[in-house]
């Protein structure tokens, strides 16, 4: 357990390949902002869905390259900083389909050098990405597309709850978090709450990431805002719309980064500035799972 600032300082280096995981849900915004604050650069940013967090990191100059499958503002439109720098060739792009991206991580997570999949064929993507190749099935003679394993230097995962060792419970949309943690050389877990190991061990099937993979565990409530945490807070859709406006002008964008990233020391200050009213707007009522009985065996 350490602070997020310490975790990013120790574990993220300039030039690293990083994967901030989470499909719409549990996006580790706090870690992304800390990476911006610490001025990390020349990063290869990998994510199926770059989302606002990579748009912000690209705008702040952290990225040399983006490896992705869908670079949009979900439910809103395009990512303006991504698009501007991509069109100006100021960032390099490497592009897959969603299945290709998660298959790359899965292969990396399981030490397979490649993964064969029944997609990509017939698309123009392989012609523009030499990393998409083919393999012939030794049984049927069919030609399948392949993607190479992806092993990021660092993965950042935001979880609902973890113990002090980093054993993490994640529920709701579980995206590619587990694959990212197993594929990466170094793993940072941020979580809404650190709980006792007894809570984790009460439901071992829920532990998607074992603590021994984890290099840093950080308790960081609201670390996923403006994305959401199932059972903890709602998605801030207003901000996703707002970002579309902010990122239209270089001036507004700089002002936003100055106020909300460079101008705060961390997530606590960010939330304080964010204010009680909007926090309350995003609260959710409780709806609990029916527990399972694991049984006590003597």
């Amino acid at each position: 357990m350490m602070s997020l600032a310490e975790a990013v300082d120790r574990l993220v280096e300039d030039g690293d390949t990083v994967y901030l995981a989470g499909f719409t849900h549990l996006i580790p915004f706090a870690a992304g902002h800390e990476i911006i604050r610490q001025g990390k650069k020349d990063l290869t940013l990998c994510r199926a869905t770059p989302d606002l967090i990579y748009d912000q990191m690209i705008a702040a100059g952290c990225a040399r390259k983006v490896v992705f499958s869908w670079a949009g503002n979900p439910g809103v439109g395009l990512l303006r900083s991504f698009r501007k720098k991509a069109e100006a060739k100021e960032i390099e792009l490497e592009e897959y389909t969603h299945y290709g991206m998660v298959a790359r991580l899965w292969a990396g997570a399981t030490n397979l050098p490649f993964f064969p999949l029944r997609s990509n064929i017939g698309s123009d993507l392989p012609a523009h990405n030499p990393n998409i190749k083919t393999v012939t099935c030794p049984y049927t003679g069919q030609v399948l597309s392949t993607v190479p394993a992806l092993n990021p230097d660092v993965a950042v995962i935001h979880a609902q709850r973890a113990d002090a060792q980093g054993n993490a419970h994640i529920w709701g949309i579980i995206g590619e978090q587990r694959e990212a943690a197993f594929a990466a050389r170094k793993v940072i877990i941020t979580c809404e709450e650190i709980v006792s190991s007894e809570v984790i061990k009460s439901d071992p099937n829920r532990t998607l990431i074992p603590g021994f993979l984890v290099d840093a565990v950080v308790e960081e409530p609201w670390a996923a805002h403006p994305s959401y945490v199932q059972g903890y807070y709602d998605r801030d859709n207003d901000f996703y719309l707002e970002w579309d406006r902010i990122s239209r002008s270089e001036e507004d964008l700089r002002a936003w980064l100055d106020e909300w990233v460079y101008g705060v020391s961390g997530r606590r200050e960010y939330m304080a500035r964010f204010g009680a009213e909007r926090i309350l707007k995003l609260r959710v009522n409780s709806q609990y799972s029916v527990p399972i009985n694991l049984g006590s065996y003597r």
């Binding site: 069109e87 998660v102 698309s123 959710v284």
Partner: protein
């Protein structure tokens, strides 16, 4: 009763869904079409989201494809890798809905770039799951506005394969899914002939054939049995407006 082109599209899409179909859903129009079909012609469809949600039962209109309301009360939730392998590649998805910046006469879809890939005029969001859905779903339903620049003879980039250069080419490549079966625009409904080329089979009420042809980027084939789309019924519109999109977030009203 007046209605908008978007309402007509949504309703036409809903009618094409059969009871029991498993549908790979996006937000917006496909989500509304599925929910409408569930209340009318297809009560037992199963909605699958690429976020890994199976049998979603949303308590509000989802605003993103990974909205938390899709999870609470869903039948099953799995990882993205699992939804692409165990569901989509396994052949469990009957219908995948796709939109795109461009669709060509063989149903190939472009959501990657306008212009040249290495020097694009517009850099779009990219495939996401679209290429995977186009390759693996048993049928693909395409929804898009009917404009010449959206329907060119040849897309600038094939993000997601339709029939590529024709039905035989798709077969030769061995793609498991059956390819696109219907294109629904704000002007009409198009299907694919035995060559895999788009054919206009139905025109929405009040639309002229010449208007459809003028808004298509190639010399569009027209079915000899061309019909006029049944206009939305009062019931269809009522469900859409009162139950599914009461705030008009996704659909403009016709009145």
């Amino acid at each position: 009763m007046k209605y908008s082109a978007a309402e007509m599209m949504t309703i036409a899409a809903a009618r094409k869904i059969k009871d029991g179909d498993r549908v790979f859903v996006g937000i917006g129009m496909p989500n509304l079409a599925c929910n409408l079909a569930m209340r009318l012609n297809a009560p037992n469809i199963e909605m699958i989201y690429e976020a890994g949600v199976i049998g979603a039962n949303p308590s509000r209109l989802p605003l993103s494809i990974g909205d938390p309301c899709l999870v609470t009360g869903a039948t099953s939730v799995c990882s993205m890798f699992d939804v692409f392998t165990f569901y989509l590649q396994r052949g469990l998805v009957d219908i995948g809905f796709l939109g795109a910046a461009q669709v060509d006469k063989y149903g190939n879809l472009n959501s990657t770039v306008i212009g040249d890939y290495d020097d694009p005029k517009v850099r779009l969001a990219g495939s996401g799951g679209a290429c995977d859905i186009a390759s693996l779903a048993r049928q693909v339903f395409i929804l898009l506005p009917h404009q010449p620049r959206r329907l060119p003879e040849k897309v600038d980039f094939i993000t997601s394969p339709g029939f590529i250069g024709g039905r035989r080419e798709r077969e030769r490549l061995g793609l498991p899914g059956g390819g696109p079966t219907v294109v629904i625009t704000d002007k009409g409904i198009l299907e694919f002939d035995e060559e895999g080329e788009m054919v206009l089979v139905s025109i929405h009420p009040g639309v002229e054939l010449e208007d459809v042809k003028a808004n298509t980027g190639w010399d569009l084939k027209v079915s000899p049995s061309l019909t006029v789309t049944d206009p939305p019924t009062e019931r269809e519109l009522a469900i859409l407006r009162e139950e599914l999109d009461p705030k008009g977030i996704y659909l403009k009203r016709g009145d």
